[in-house]
Symmetry: D2
Subunit: 295 residues, 4 copies
Amino acid sequence: MPDRLTLAALNDADRTSFVAALDGIFEHAPWVAEASFAARPFATVAALHEAMMQAVLSRPIEERLAFVRLHPDLAGKAARAGEMAAESVSEQAGLGLDRLSDAEYARFERLNAEYDGRFGIPFVICVRRQTRDAVLAAFERRLGHAPGAELAAALAEIGHITRLRLVERVDGPGAPAVAGRLTTHVLDTQSGCPAEGVRVQLYEIGHSARALLLETRTNADGRTDQPLLGGGPLRIGTYELVFHVGPYFAAKSPALPERPFLDEVPLRFGIAEPEGHYHVPLIATPWSYATYRGS
Amino acid sequence: MPDRLTLAALNDADRTSFVAALDGIFEHAPWVAEASFAARPFATVAALHEAMMQAVLSRPIEERLAFVRLHPDLAGKAARAGEMAAESVSEQAGLGLDRLSDAEYARFERLNAEYDGRFGIPFVICVRRQTRDAVLAAFERRLGHAPGAELAAALAEIGHITRLRLVERVDGPGAPAVAGRLTTHVLDTQSGCPAEGVRVQLYEIGHSARALLLETRTNADGRTDQPLLGGGPLRIGTYELVFHVGPYFAAKSPALPERPFLDEVPLRFGIAEPEGHYHVPLIATPWSYATYRGS
Amino acid sequence: MPDRLTLAALNDADRTSFVAALDGIFEHAPWVAEASFAARPFATVAALHEAMMQAVLSRPIEERLAFVRLHPDLAGKAARAGEMAAESVSEQAGLGLDRLSDAEYARFERLNAEYDGRFGIPFVICVRRQTRDAVLAAFERRLGHAPGAELAAALAEIGHITRLRLVERVDGPGAPAVAGRLTTHVLDTQSGCPAEGVRVQLYEIGHSARALLLETRTNADGRTDQPLLGGGPLRIGTYELVFHVGPYFAAKSPALPERPFLDEVPLRFGIAEPEGHYHVPLIATPWSYATYRGS
Amino acid sequence: MPDRLTLAALNDADRTSFVAALDGIFEHAPWVAEASFAARPFATVAALHEAMMQAVLSRPIEERLAFVRLHPDLAGKAARAGEMAAESVSEQAGLGLDRLSDAEYARFERLNAEYDGRFGIPFVICVRRQTRDAVLAAFERRLGHAPGAELAAALAEIGHITRLRLVERVDGPGAPAVAGRLTTHVLDTQSGCPAEGVRVQLYEIGHSARALLLETRTNADGRTDQPLLGGGPLRIGTYELVFHVGPYFAAKSPALPERPFLDEVPLRFGIAEPEGHYHVPLIATPWSYATYRGS
């Protein structure tokens, strides 16, 4: 990644430097930066991104379709053959789309072909905002779109992709929100205090498998030292937190039954807003618990 | 099963008929019934059972040990070879202990041998009050007992076994409690009403596997038409209820996200009291839920 | 109250007996019973009531207005002077409307006059379904109605009044629901059991005062031996349950602070459905509680 | 109040300046500062306070009693006549103890006399950590103490009083905690978001009256812009938060009944730890709510 630019430097740059500095934000489309140049100066990074998106959205439909066609297939031959633009490669790699099994690859090939036959464009999705499970669900769902709605959906995803790239490239005021956060809090309402030292696991729940994302313990305030997820978009998907409250309560209440009523408490929930804050607390006693989407 | 006797008939029977009528309640030990005869009449079935247990517990330790030794090994050769008393066979069969895999059989053989070497008696447990997972946990735990505590534990299990047999054999007032109950209730606190039509699954959670015990739907009162478990002892073990609230709330609130915060809600809990009532409700909105051991 | 009739006897009665038997259900309007006679036999008490209401609702508007005009003013001169029909008297007396202070009487007089000036009919409301607070709120609210809506509201109230009278007069299958129920349940989720012996008070909350309706204690199941309210319509109004959990938890957990976090827990709630079931439980620990409208 | 000193300056001061600087922290007892001088330098303000308290606690019992006797009666003649030390006056005034009704004054006189007769010292309590209700409860309770326990209680209160004075007088690292905090949070689990714009009232609940302490509204995060209480010790006592959720939910759900199930939700709770953090949230839907002591 090149050094980060500042928005001030961009506002001061001449046309050639401006376009060069934004190269690759919109893949194979230097004209997007060209068309945004006139709108300088930009008060915020968000305003710069909106101007660039506006440059795309104001084009006639045929040019918008041609622009989308410049994007690589998802998990397609280009990903396998290493022919994608460097940034596309690393973004898809984060989801493991560059190392699919043959069966998974075949499924993506089938979906890509069906999608291309229906819409005449490649399936574009901001993979950094998705679990693999969610990518497949979105693929199936968007195949049911009318062409106009689907072109809008593809462009909205390009908005997500380029917003992320721009925030990483350009430093300045008014950066658009691209990061979400998952946090938790374990409260012991038997004793009226935070529950310290409770083992917490976070799983990603796929259609047929579950993957352990991390394991940690609650601190003296009943929270985790770091957010469970954060620093970038949350991936749309289904998750499960497992709180190992059995040992915690057994240490406090020796008279509890050997097979406690509550031991490993799973909280399963969906994340639909990658830039949102999901606070998912556990309010528990040895005989009850509650959770909610908090703030 | 023979026709059920009445307690009144037993109270009126002569010694020979009395002993014959109670044959097999205590395996290979007609002397237990003999010794209880003098205590007639019995006001309740529970009093009859207590008298029989007292006949055992009042014997010297050597006789108590000899009495326990008359019981078959758990999941042992006798079970495999069909040599057990008819009632023992059907009781163990309910847990699948007569059709173990070779590896499981080997594990039980090992535990049986270790237990026999340590205590000189077979491992006795009332299998109808246990999941297979709980039998193995009890086996491991009881191996750590002192001999006196373990003899008491074995006799307590014989108390459970014979209480169940007696209640099935003898009709009369004051039957001891041998049945537990698991019930649920789904309440929709978004709308302030019972949640009707919610799919509910009940799983038994073993050490390494989960087994679907049943699947049902909530009725207009948010309950299930029948208790989830009941009619006999609950099996000590770990369970999971899964409530499919996603479709229920989606039908009521079309604006909910496609990937809802709550879809399949699992409640995992332990049952430690086979004769207890476990009421495990779900109080839910699309964004929160709570549960507790109710009554 | 005369002996209760049976629906079967009514179905068999001749016209004169039929009308006599139903005398007073609809005040000063024997023609309602007359007009219903032809619809015999009635399968249910509810069907009889519906037929009688239909006899009213099918009349031209002038006759419906004249019919409503036969009803006494609420808390009016007739109530004070003892000139009302016997049943009206006892119904209004239940709410204390026959013994208002002079100021309250003046307020009702003012509302009656304003209402009569606006609609040309007396204000009719089924007082047995109302707290005094709710009567005044309804008075104010219905003064804002258009005349047609208000005539419908008055006739709906006459439906409530006569339904109650009919159910008390006639025994038979299919009685319409006229009784609601308020119940509670105190659950101790610190110990995982019903909370026994908790003092519970029920107050009616008026605009400026609160009246203790009853005081009781929870039984071994954490419930009250009798429903808190029941046996007739619940009165629309605002209520408060006060649960004295302080002494209960102090007895179980001596280490709690002298000034406990929870001592008297008030749950304030409105009742809007006189024939509904309001289950208002308290799920509590010394440091938390929850409630909901249950079922 | 004089300018605040720094701990560093105190550590550098000579004996005379040191004693002068701490004048009045312990009323009428310059020897406390004198005795602490030798222990310089103090790493923290807390260490300085502990050294001063140690100077008191290490004296023989007769001297400790004499020291306590230097304190003014609570709400006594000195308070009325303006004869107390300036700081004592303002501290008692905060609780309104300088403007009691004649009946209240008489009650305090009676308690003071009984206490003095029993223990031979004035009743000392850190009034800034108490509601008036709590002062009276403590008075009654401490009258039941054995003399030794009561002397310890009085000295502990002097510890609280002087800790507060010292923290206000001396700036420096390691100040002892003297401030508590009461916060709230309203979460709408019907919509899965913070409840904005909910009117919140905080009352102090006395034995026979309730006083409105403040009224505010929740902000966009469902919290209040400022802690409800804070900036000093919380007063031990009973409080009630009233959340006006009726209008909030009615605006979101027009189909709710006119007499809503939840309108004004009271949460009544005790505060026992003046230096603690009491987080008392409301998790609500139109048909349910929960609260707990959070963190």
